[in-house]
């Protein structure tokens, strides 16, 4: 049961080979483009690594980089094959390599598609990672004298100014943590002592935010402290004031930024995937059409090309059987599998639980 049979007269074969050569060079450039997109995404994720709790989301740029490099090799090989394709004397030496080549290239092409799907699916993981990371950032904001956390204040301030956001979910997160270090609090002052005593954990909490939350578009000079106290400022109402500080939370701002970036990259990689798939399909047709010419003295006869010799299921089994035999899984299935290393055991605690 042959899949997708097509007739190929001599001119059509020539045109197919020429078109494939051009297409494979375009696909090589597209592979380099995919690699650079992966690099860009990884750089952007590393820049804000301090406010991310885990690096699970880095699997997307890593996959893109691997796929980009692989596609460079795949398409270069394809261009070499189709250059020799029309010469009946030079084509047979590529014959042996083509079967494993198709297996490997199909794997990497499917991996490319997986990378695109992952870039949309990783939103939840990214959000939970940012939630924990930003929470820690706000908690350690005051620890500018603790080694390892000296630059937390600077990072959070720069982040809030650049992304025009304040706090984790919103600005009220700053009310729940002590963000002024004890080194700068006058413990002999009555006001400070009262505030600390009134708190259960002995923390100095204020209804104020750092200067980096201030919105430059506000018509009045920034009100940072005593935000909930209307009488502390002239002509100020906490409930209706919108322009004074940034109302958006940094988690939302960062998620939007990264999802926008990944969506754009995903669209680009999807078009590269289509290009790559068309290269592989054309190469398969060219290979089968040229194989029928072999042995004939007249190289200009009309031949048939097809995608798969047997049906899809049989072809898949044909490829998987040697792999399974190599891993010795098929033999051991009857004896009762002792701890298959392929099946992952889920010991990772998902951050979304807290």
């Amino acid at each position: 049961m042959v899949v997708m049979k097509m007739k190929f007269p001599f001119e059509k074969r020539v045109k197919l080979a020429q078109g494939l050569w051009l297409l494979s060079w375009c696909a090589t450039v597209a592979g380099a483009f995919t690699f650079s997109l992966g690099c860009i995404l990884k750089t952007e994720l590393r820049r804000r690594a301090e406010v991310m709790d885990n690096s699970d989301v880095h699997v997307v740029p890593n996959t893109l980089m691997i796929v980009g490099l692989a596609s460079l090799g795949i398409n270069y090989f394809a261009s070499k094959v189709c250059q020799d394709a029309l010469d009946a004397g030079r084509f047979p030496r590529w014959k042996k390599m083509l079967k494993p080549y198709f297996a490997v290239s199909c794997f990497f092409t499917v991996l490319m598609l997986l990378a695109v799907i992952m870039s949309y699916a990783m939103k939840g993981s990214l959000e939970s990672s940012l939630k924990v990371g930003l929470r820690n950032g706000i908690r350690f904001y005051k620890d500018t004298d603790t080694p390892g956390r000296c630059f937390q204040k600077q990072n959070i301030d720069r982040l809030q100014m650049e992304f025009q956001c304040c706090g984790n979910t919103d600005f009220k997160d700053w009310f729940e943590f002590q963000w002024i270090s004890n080194r700068y609090l006058d413990f002999s002052s009555k006001e400070v002592k009262d505030r600390i005593k009134s708190n259960v954990d002995g923390r100095y909490l204020v209804d104020g935010v750092p200067f980096s939350c201030c919105n430059p578009s506000s018509p009045r000079p920034c009100i940072q402290s005593q935000l909930t106290n209307d009488s502390a400022h002239y002509n100020y109402e906490y409930q209706t004031e919108e322009l004074n500080i940034y109302l958006r939370g940094c988690r939302e701002a960062l998620v939007n930024y990264y999802m926008g970036l990944m969506n754009t990259i995903g669209a680009g990689v999807l078009s590269v995937f289509l290009l790559q798939a068309s290269v592989l399909v054309s190469l398969r047709f060219l290979q089968t059409a040229m194989e029928a010419v072999e042995g004939n003295e007249n190289t200009e006869i009309e031949t048939e090309g097809y995608l798969l010799e047997k049906s899809v299921k049989e072809t898949v089994m044909e490829y998987i059987n040697p792999v399974m035999k190599f891993l010795m899984l098929k033999n051991q299935v009857e004896e009762g599998t002792p701890g298959n290393p392929e099946i992952p055991t889920d010991v990772n605690v998902k951050p979304g639980l807290f």
């Binding site: 204040k153 270090s181 700068y184 980096s212 430059p216 018509p219 000079p221």
Partner: protein
């Protein structure tokens, strides 16, 4: 006695033509680069025009755009001439245009030199415009309800954040102007009334700065108000405190930004002048080598190429004599026309 003569055989001529063609296309790319730098500089000036009182001079970026376009055109023409030079039929149609073309290149080089000079000299004008513009920006910071100045606060805040600077010369410029609008001052409050009355012009002045002066690298939360009063804050000495707010003035920060941009553009223009001179010399050698072929039918014959037909002094002497005769011809014509004009 030709100036700097060189002997050319066929291979040398072909190599010269090919090399010159490549250099001409390199010059076209440099021309495109100059054009885009001119546009970039113009956009940067427009972005910061509020800081410069909206009367900054756009002479340098406009000249750069013009020079970039001219460079593209002149060098593309030169490349075309080189491409056709080894084919005698095609070259014959370009021959009459070559002398005016070389004169045009000389003029173009002079224009490039003028542009480079302006790049270095206009930096003073930028400095003065910045000083005046920033002074006014700080004065109008509070006028967020006056049409035409609504966005001064936002622009100045964003500039101070981006360039990491505070005030005009330094942060003390903020102590001399009222930067809080009267709309947000409680005039019934005694403290406010005292402060306003104690000022000669009735302005509400404080020793405070806006939030955009704050330095994120400071280990403590930003101290904006009562900057000169050590007792207002715990563990604070305003004389030794360096990290709290930006100590650099915005005039210096903006000027160093523009000055480095203009200096690098000036250096690029000087490199372009050298490249153009190399182009001109190469073209002169190529055209003279092609013209002095003894036997035009035989392409393999040898020929001479030179930069100037006579020596440098003699060429200049000839040029001056020509200019003098040009002047004299005009006078003769004027003498003839004058009686006609009088009628």
């Amino acid at each position: 006695m030709p100036f700097m003569p060189v002997k050319f055989n066929l291979q040398k001529r072909v190599k010269l033509a090919q090399g010159l063609w490549m250099i001409y296309w390199l010059s076209v790319i440099v021309g495109i680069l100059l054009f885009s730098l001119g546009i970039f500089f113009k956009i940067e000036l427009r972005k910061r025009s509020e800081m410069m009182d909206n009367n900054e001079s756009h002479l340098v970026p406009n000249l750069l755009i013009l020079v970039g376009l001219l460079a593209c055109g002149v060098n593309a023409f030169g490349g075309k001439v080189c491409h056709d030079s080894l084919d005698p039929i095609k070259f014959a149609k370009w021959k009459p245009m070559l002398k005016p073309f070389l004169l045009l290149c000389c003029g173009f080089n002079a224009l490039l030199l003028l542009t480079a000079l302006l790049c270095f000299l206009m930096q003073f004008a930028v400095y003065l415009t910045l000083a005046e513009g920033l002074k006014n920006s700080i004065k109008f910071y509070k006028d967020t309800d006056t049409p035409g100045r609504c966005f001064m606060k936002r622009t100045l805040d964003l500039t101070q954040i981006e360039f990491r600077c505070c005030g005009n010369n330094n942060f003390r410029d903020w102590f001399e102007v009222q930067w809080i609008s009267n709309r947000y001052l409680d005039m019934s409050n005694d403290l406010v009334k005292d402060r306003v009355l104690s000022n000669v012009e009735g302005k509400y002045l404080m020793d405070s700065v806006p939030f955009s002066c704050c330095n994120p690298g400071s280990p403590r939360p930003c101290i904006q108000h009562h900057l000169t009063n050590n007792s207002a804050h715990y563990d604070y000495d305003h004389r030794i405190e360096e990290l709290n707010i930006w100590t650099r003035g915005c005039r210096e920060a903006l000027f160093s930004y523009f000055s480095s941009m203009m200096t690098s553009i000036g250096v690029l223009i000087i490199a372009t002048i050298i490249l153009e001179s190399v182009d001109m010399a190469g073209l002169k050698y190529l055209t003279t080598a092609l013209e002095t072929m003894e036997d035009p039918e035989n392409p393999e014959c040898e020929s001479d190429g030179w930069l100037l037909e006579k020596g440098v002094k003699e060429t200049f002497g000839d040029l001056l004599a020509k200019l003098k005769t040009l002047g004299k011809t005009n006078q003769v014509v004027e003498g003839g026309d004058a009686p006609e004009a009088a009628n």
